[in-house]
């Protein structure tokens, strides 16, 4: 009985996993793949967002162990995809920037496999939860979603901030260029006009 219980627990635990959140750089014309071993019937969520670079787009493919494409998106900025693993094996997620020849990108990925790991020792007894425990669980869930929203907010903010920094720099360079252009054109105009009139003079004399 005991061993059986432990076994069930372990089996149950195999299904639980931790979410992996990674932010990585994707150089131009590069492809980055991540693999994850997933048990059968585990529900998984793949989320990604391009933080900076180019048009903020990336090609994403998700393949199952038999190399069938489960999910494919071309030039997406961000998305979230839910799926249930149909079989046990290694699933592969690839982010590709192969269409882009010069823009370097920053990609955030969150790959959540299974449910959250329970606290050790919590939830293994069959008794009904006390009110205190169930409210603790509710608060935990709400706080988890707050953390999740914060992550999204942080990414959005990073996107906005980086774009603002880019804009700031561009305005600086553009104004410098524009000023230089105005000065050059002013001098060039005078020079051309002067030339125009000095060229005319010998003609009138020739007549």
């Amino acid at each position: 009985m005991k061993t059986c219980l432990v076994f069930i627990l372990i089996l149950e635990l195999v299904q639980y996993s931790i979410a992996t959140e990674l932010t990585f750089e994707l150089p131009d014309s590069a492809k980055e793949c991540f693999h994850e071993e997933i048990q059968k019937n585990t529900s998984c969520t793949l989320e990604y967002q391009v933080v900076t670079g180019g048009q903020y787009d990336v090609d994403v493919t998700l393949e199952d162990p038999k190399s069938n494409v489960l999910y494919k998106q071309v030039r997406m900025q961000f998305d979230s995809h839910n799926f249930v693993a149909q079989e046990h094996g290694v699933y592969k997620v690839c982010f590709s920037n192969e269409f882009s020849t010069f823009s370097h990108k920053l990609v955030y990925m969150d790959f959540q496999v299974g449910d959250e790991q329970p606290l050790p020792g919590v939830g293994e007894h069959a008794t009904v939860l006390t009110q205190m425990e169930s409210s603790a669980q509710d608060i935990h869930k709400s706080l988890s979603s707050i953390l999740d929203y914060q992550t999204h907010h942080r990414l959005r903010e990073a996107q906005g901030r980086k774009r603002a920094e880019e804009l700031n720099e561009r305005v600086l360079w553009w104004s410098i260029m524009e000023t230089l252009a105005v000065i050059t054109i002013a001098f060039a105009q005078v020079f051309v006009l002067k030339n125009f009139f000095t060229d005319k003079k010998p003609n009138t004399q020739f007549k």
Partner: protein
């Protein structure tokens, strides 16, 4: 007794599970791989990794026996190295951020050109903030009851949210500064541009006028 054995099996399982079933990717032996973690200050980060070497004989990936090591480097937002060491093929790295911002975690193997061309499989798991807390350890050390443990987790989460919120304010300030700088740059640029145009125009007129007068065209 039964409870104890469950704990032990749970804990060993967590350890085993953490070590063997993380996300993995492939890199060349001389390649360098970096990940960026944007985190508030005073946040704990735990990095678990395991490296396997491609074995041409079996066509699979084997835990390396040749003593391959990973060089792990962590840089803070000011680009200062806060951690740079060579670890073995499997390891757990722990650090706490002191500055808020983007921390870059880079990994590359210490292999020489001897094996070059071979592939490495790196299992990686990065946990940040309250996810980095090992509750199994806390249960063992502090002997907390179930409810206490739950509350403990809630406290950790709220702490994390507070830190994140603080960091949010910090970044918002930077964002605002950038926007204000853009705003003032646009303003000053338009003022300067108008001035430059007026000066150039007047100069052109005066110059041409004297020129025409000198040429007796007017």
């Amino acid at each position: 007794m039964f409870k104890n054995s469950v704990y032990i099996s749970l804990i060993t399982f967590f350890v085993l599970f953490n070590a063997c079933s993380a996300l993995y990717f492939h890199i060349g032996e001389t390649e360098r791989k970096c990940f960026i973690e944007e985190i508030p200050d005073e946040t704990n980060v735990v990095v678990n990794y395991k490296v396997e070497l491609y074995d041409p004989r079996s066509g699979g990936f084997m835990p390396s026996s040749t003593g391959i090591g990973m060089h792990v480097e962590v840089r803070d937002p000011d680009d200062k190295v806060i951690l740079s060491r060579v670890y073995s093929a499997e390891g757990k790295i722990f650090f706490t951020s002191h500055l808020p911002g983007e921390h870059v975690i880079c990994m590359y193997s210490n292999s020489t050109a001897w094996f070059s061309g071979s592939q490495l499989r790196v299992h990686l798991d990065i946990q940040v903030g309250e996810h980095a807390i090992n509750y199994g350890e806390i249960v063992q050390k502090e002997k907390l009851s179930e409810l206490q443990l739950r509350v403990r987790q809630l406290i950790d989460q709220v702490d994390q949210i507070t830190k994140e919120q603080n960091y949010q304010r910090f970044r918002e300030e930077r964002f605002r500064q950038t926007s204000e700088s853009t705003n003032s740059r646009v303003l000053w640029w338009s003022v300067t541009q108008t001035a430059v145009l007026l000066i150039m125009g007047t100069w052109q007129m005066r110059h041409l006028k004297t020129f025409f007068e000198a040429k007796k065209l007017v």
